[in-house]
Point group: none
Chain length 246, copies 2
DNA sequence: CTCTATGTTACCAAATTAGGACCAAGGAGA
DNA sequence: TCTCCTTGGTCCTAATTTGGTAACATAGAG
């Protein structure tokens, strides 16, 4: 298989134009799809160069990216290996309920939304669903000891749940029942100011500091089953993570 | 596709009539629509010139506008790229400079403090040092491509460095030389509002969202060699973490 | 006329990519 | 142990692509 060429796509999405970026994307997909087994070696650089019809320099640059991202590890003379994340277990961010319980607080929540509808174009991209697919939407106000702590908005691919009411308390418990609980997740986190709408729901002042966390949950086969946007109160929540050397 | 002509719009909004402004508007839209992927390259100038049927000079002026607005970045010999929010690999233990270099951005910093002194009682606890021990203190304004990104305040156990001036550029590089680079770290992260003092240093508005990260760096033998408080601009920094759901 | 926006052309400089050579580390088998 | 092969690590040269810059021409507005 060769990487797509560099010809322009007049009405469509632009390709980056840099071959090593296209290649690193292809490799990233192979890792996510488990084409390259976690902990196992990926094909040697010379093989990849032939397979994708690029030079070894380009392969090395593409692999460099993934090594920098921590997805791959090189071992001189042995090969390049997919990092096995199950053994690392660093940066384990526990779920809201678990987190609250471990702090000796009582978690509760109020439903803001619990519906089934069609994907938006944005979601069809991020969930990898075809336009017109159905999804479940859940939104909850999360509280600890009766004090509002966060707003959680989840979108779930329709194949993962029988119906919206299958989620009574824990979303992940419901996904577990259908065998669609994510085994891996990517989280993106940034600091924002809490806007008027969210502030009203949480009964706090607008403009307060907040943490926005976007999570994409992956199934074992690489499909994205869940996207969740969580907005945490900055004045009430700390995140702790343990890091290891890259 | 060609840009709309120059005819006047009688009752409507005044079109500028300058082709490069129309073009920069079209490009701005393409960026907003994600037709040009964030972080990816836009088509080369010669391609844009052909596609929009304008000269390369005009393309360059249009691109100049977007570069000045900070939406695009040029890289000689490589292409012009859509600026993406910095995504920091939260689970990866790397220093600011290493992180920026690996992303192809140019790190720089301004020293705010670089001294040797005695531990405070607080620090003697967190660093595990006996009262009266000496420590190095470093504080820097961190920039990427000349734009302020964070304020970093580090305290280093004195055994880990020969003298304060050993840190020229990268703190972790200096620690590496003496064999005292942390192999593990604990980070605590929370959202805050940037106060007047920090805002003045970073040249931004007070009250902007920020991420405060406290890090304790451990040596292989378990000693804490480093404590760092970093204040990141919320509008310029994303943190990403990959995790395994329990 | 001048001034400005734009087009055309040419060439320079920097980055990517290709392709190759050689070295060093690791593993497999005699 | 030793040898041989594979694999990543490093260096080089050359071609191609891409942005950087300059000189000059053209058209329209004032």
């Amino acid at each position: 298989m060769a990487i797509a060429g560099n010809e322009s796509t007049p009405g469509g999405i632009e390709s980056t134009g840099l071959r090593y970026q296209q290649l690193s994307g292809a490799l990233r997909a192979s890792i996510a799809n488990r084409d390259f087994a976690p902990g196992g070696a990926i094909p040697p650089e010379r093989t990849l160069a032939k397979r994708y019809d690029v030079s070894r320099v380009t392969v090395r640059r593409a692999v460099d990216e993934l090594v920098n991202e921590g997805l791959l590890v090189r071992r001189h003379g042995a090969g390049t290996f997919v990092v096995d994340r199950v053994e690392k277990q660093f940066a384990k961010l526990s779920s809201f309920s678990e987190d609250m319980i471990s702090r000796g607080r009582v978690p509760s929540s109020r439903w803001l939304d619990k519906t089934e509808s069609f994907v938006t174009p944005d979601e069809s991209l991020s969930l990898g669903l075809s336009p017109g697919s159905r999804v479940f939407r859940f939104a909850r106000l999360r509280c600890a000891d009766g004090i509002s702590m966060a707003i959680e908005r989840s979108t779930i691919a329709s194949y993962a749940l029988t119906d919206a009411d299958a989620v009574v308390d824990s979303l992940y418990a419901a996904l577990d029942k259908t065998g669609h609980r994510p085994v891996r997740a990517l989280q993106k986190l940034r600091a924002i100011l809490i806007d008027a709408e969210a502030a009203a729901i949480m009964d706090i002042e607008p403009g307060a500091p907040g943490l926005m966390i976007e999570r994409r949950g992956f199934l074992a086969d690489g499909r994205i089953v869940e996207t969740t946007e969580s907005l945490y109160r900055g004045d009430a929540y700390d995140f702790i993570a343990e890091l290891v050397e890259a």
